[in-house]
């Protein structure tokens, strides 16, 4: 079996969803003939036609708002936002409308829609292309916020997101689009969108990460194994709603917790996880909860992006600090 990249996995999930449900409509900038700037919609236009794979005008707020109307009108739009920094105009539509339609009409109208957008740094992209906005969306009630960390999880989580009835923001780490590859089947199996995934079991410390930080955490875990530290690695995957139980149970076992994300420290989703761990596993904690995150700076342009981005070495130092508490 040949390996599938994460961007190919996204394409496979989109094609699968469009095949099994004719209500699924893909829309966005350059998603048609061009197949998307990252090629996530490659081949869909030829296969499903211009009605269902729609190039929109350059209109991010429009993509968000029209998806809401489409969803309330009986379709299942999967919108692509071209680059991470272009997602912000949608916050109005997602916060004020998509996440509220079911509630404010007491179930009469719903918004089963998925907004896919690239996220994160590490590919030397231009300005405004390397953002990590997940915490902003995770603060919105009624929304699901998902960040996959591997081709298989991207495939399964995206399928579940599209099949579900809730509005979803699905953030795809650009670094993993081609940086992550594995053997996988296009078997139509989805994954739960309310669970964290324990990727590696360990005894001494719990590493909690999502997106492109998951491979870094796994790298640290492998390297620190040689130093005699047994690290458990959790891929949060779905930030909202959060499966705090899996994280808390892990920390109850290990007694130490290191949370990793690319987004800035202050107000980052790591703070929420730290609070949940403090509430749920306080008496098990052997060391202060550590956070390894982007800095509270503007995401640097490409020359400095690797200084900003957490990596296995920085995670390792946090593990050492936590392990210093015996």
């Amino acid at each position: 079996m040949s390996e599938t990249t994460m961007v190919q996995a996204v394409s496979l999930a989109l094609a699968r969803a469009m095949t099994e449900d004719e209500r699924v409509i893909v829309l966005g900038e350059d998603v048609g003939v061009d197949g998307g700037v990252f090629r996530a919609t490659d081949g869909l236009f030829t296969r499903f036609g211009a009605d269902r794979v729609r190039d929109t005008p350059l209109s991010e707020m429009g993509i968000g708002g029209i998806s809401i109307g489409l969803a309330a009108g009986g379709f299942k739009p999967v919108a692509e936002i071209q680059f991470s920094g272009f997602i912000f105009p949608l916050i109005d539509q997602i916060n004020n409308h998509a996440s509220r339609f079911r509630n404010r009409t007491r179930g009469r109208l719903q918004c089963p829609m998925v907004v896919r957008a690239p996220c994160g740094g590490g590919i030397h992209a231009p300005e405004h292309h390397s953002e990590s906005p997940e915490a902003m969306f995770a603060n919105i009630p009624g929304l699901r916020v998902i960040v996959p960390s591997s081709p298989r999880r991207a495939y399964g989580l995206l399928l579940a997101a599209i099949r579900g009835s809730d509005p979803v923001v699905f953030l795809e780490p650009t670094k993993l689009y081609r940086g992550a590859r594995e053997e996988m089947l296009d078997d139509g199996k989805d994954l739960p969108v309310d669970r964290c995934f324990v990727l590696r079991e360990g005894r001494d410390v719990t590493l909690v990460a999502w997106g492109a930080m998951v491979p870094e955490a796994l790298k640290t875990a492998a390297e620190w194994e040689a130093k005699g530290v047994s690290a458990e690695v959790i891929d949060v995957a779905t930030l909202k709603p959060l499966d705090a139980e899996t994280i808390i149970n892990s920390v109850k076992k290990t007694g130490r917790c290191v949370i990793v994300h690319e987004a800035p420290l202050t107000g980052g989703f790591g703070g929420e996880i730290a609070a949940r761990v403090a509430e749920g596993a306080f008496s098990s904690l052997l060391a202060p909860i550590e956070r390894v995150t982007g800095y509270d700076t503007i995401m640097p342009l490409l020359k400095l992006e690797n200084v900003y981005l957490p990596n296995a070495a920085r995670i390792g130092k946090a593990v050492d600090r936590a392990m210093a508490y015996a």
Binding site: M61, G65, G73, R102, L109, P241
Partner: protein, 377 residues
């Protein structure tokens, strides 16, 4: 009332012409209710005009009662549509049941026409989400408070209709202030490119809270914003319900034949405050408002009907009695409606209650039952 713009003449006189446009203005009844030109065939039947009159009076009765309920602490902040009832009523009267109304928040007359009940509208403005259930207008969207953001929903649901090749149409109503917003432009532009079955109806009541129309846009008309996105734009006298119904009706016929969207700017006037929380005397003088009372839509149609011999004092008394009884009964039913269970706030957040929220819901339920047992002691 604005006059037909002179753009065409100005541009035609130019030696190099890239494009020309003109904006039509339609009116059948002048402010005194005098017929200016022959009524369109659809409006010739007195029964039609009487039903329109009833729709206007019903809207005003609802507004009046809603303001009274707010002033006595039994309704939340409320935005009356007094003076501009003909825009929503005229549009709704041109629509079919399967069409979709995507309103702003001052279209009570249109919502009532289409089957939303006064009880539902009182519930909504009284702070109860069940008021958006619209059991008899199940396709219609709820009110939209973030100004103009719903224009995109109208385009989206129009796309859904077009993809299913249904002979239905969408009417989206927003105010003059909304036309300054980017989302409204994006909606019009998308609708133009995709030739969507949607009519954008601008209820230009001349005021966006305290900002007058003149400070909202340098454009000569708001209808001409359509021209920039390549779709037709025109004006109508928004206080002439016959004109609104006719112009929207013609637009809907085009839309149903897949001939594309349009923008209609209805010229009206907000006779009241922006909402019950507003005091318009802070920014506009009574001397500005007073003349507009001579142009309002209800008196205008009443005068026409009376002059035409289609309406008598007895008809008026009977209608007012009937409508007042309906609105009073609705208000009583609203006031008698048992409140929602507090924990219902959790139940429609997701399709299925996530574990995280289930725990929060349980906390609310426990604290409520603790309060109850405390009260019992």
């Amino acid at each position: 009332m604005p006059h037909k713009p002179q753009n065409k003449e100005i541009i035609v006189n130019s030696p190099n012409i890239a494009a020309t446009f003109e904006i039509d203005f339609t009116r059948y009844l002048d402010p005194a209710g005098k017929l200016l030109k022959e009524l369109p065939a659809e409006a010739k039947d007195p029964a039609t005009l009487k039903s329109l009159y009833r729709g206007l009076v019903r809207a005003r009765a609802f507004d009046t009662k809603a303001v009274a309920l707010q002033r006595t602490g039994r309704l939340g902040t409320y935005g009356s549509s007094i003076g501009q009832e003909a825009v929503a009523v005229g549009a709704a009267s041109a629509m079919l049941a399967d069409d979709v109304l995507v309103p702003s928040f001052r279209e009570h007359g249109g919502q009532l026409w289409r089957g939303a009940t006064p009880v539902e509208l009182f519930l909504y403005w009284g702070g109860d989400e069940r008021g958006n259930s619209f059991a008899k207008a199940p396709h219609d969207f709820p009110n939209c408070v973030p100004v103009g953001s719903h224009a995109l929903h109208a385009a989206g649901v129009a796309l859904a209709i077009k993809l299913r090749k249904e002979p239905r149409a969408v009417v989206c109503i927003f105010g003059d202030g909304a036309t300054s917003k980017g989302d409204v432009y994006e909606a019009m532009n998308l609708a133009g490119v995709w030739k969507l079955p949607v009519v954008f109806l601008v209820s230009n009541n001349q005021w966006a809270i305290s900002v007058p129309r003149s400070a909202q846009s340098a454009a000569q008309t708001l209808a001409q914003k359509a021209i920039a996105v390549g779709i037709p734009g025109e004006q109508v006298d928004g206080n002439d319900v016959i004109a609104v119904r006719t112009v929207v009706g013609v637009a809907l016929q085009r839309v149903r034949k897949d001939q594309g969207p349009c923008v209609i700017e209805a010229i009206t006037y907000r006779l009241g405050d922006h909402t019950t929380s507003d005091d318009a005397s802070r920014y506009r003088k009574d001397t500005e408002v007073t003349p507009h009372w001579q142009e309002e839509p209800i008196k205008r149609l009443q005068q026409y009907l009376t002059t035409a011999g289609s309406w008598t004092k007895a008809d008026e008394d009977k209608l007012l009695k009937e409508i007042n009884e309906e609105i009073e009964a609705a208000a009583a039913a609203f006031l008698a409606t048992a409140p929602q269970e507090p924990s219902v706030m959790f139940d429609y957040t997701y399709a299925q209650l996530p574990a995280d929220l289930a725990a929060q819901k349980q906390a609310v339920l426990s604290s409520l039952s603790a309060n109850l047992s405390q009260a019992a002691e």
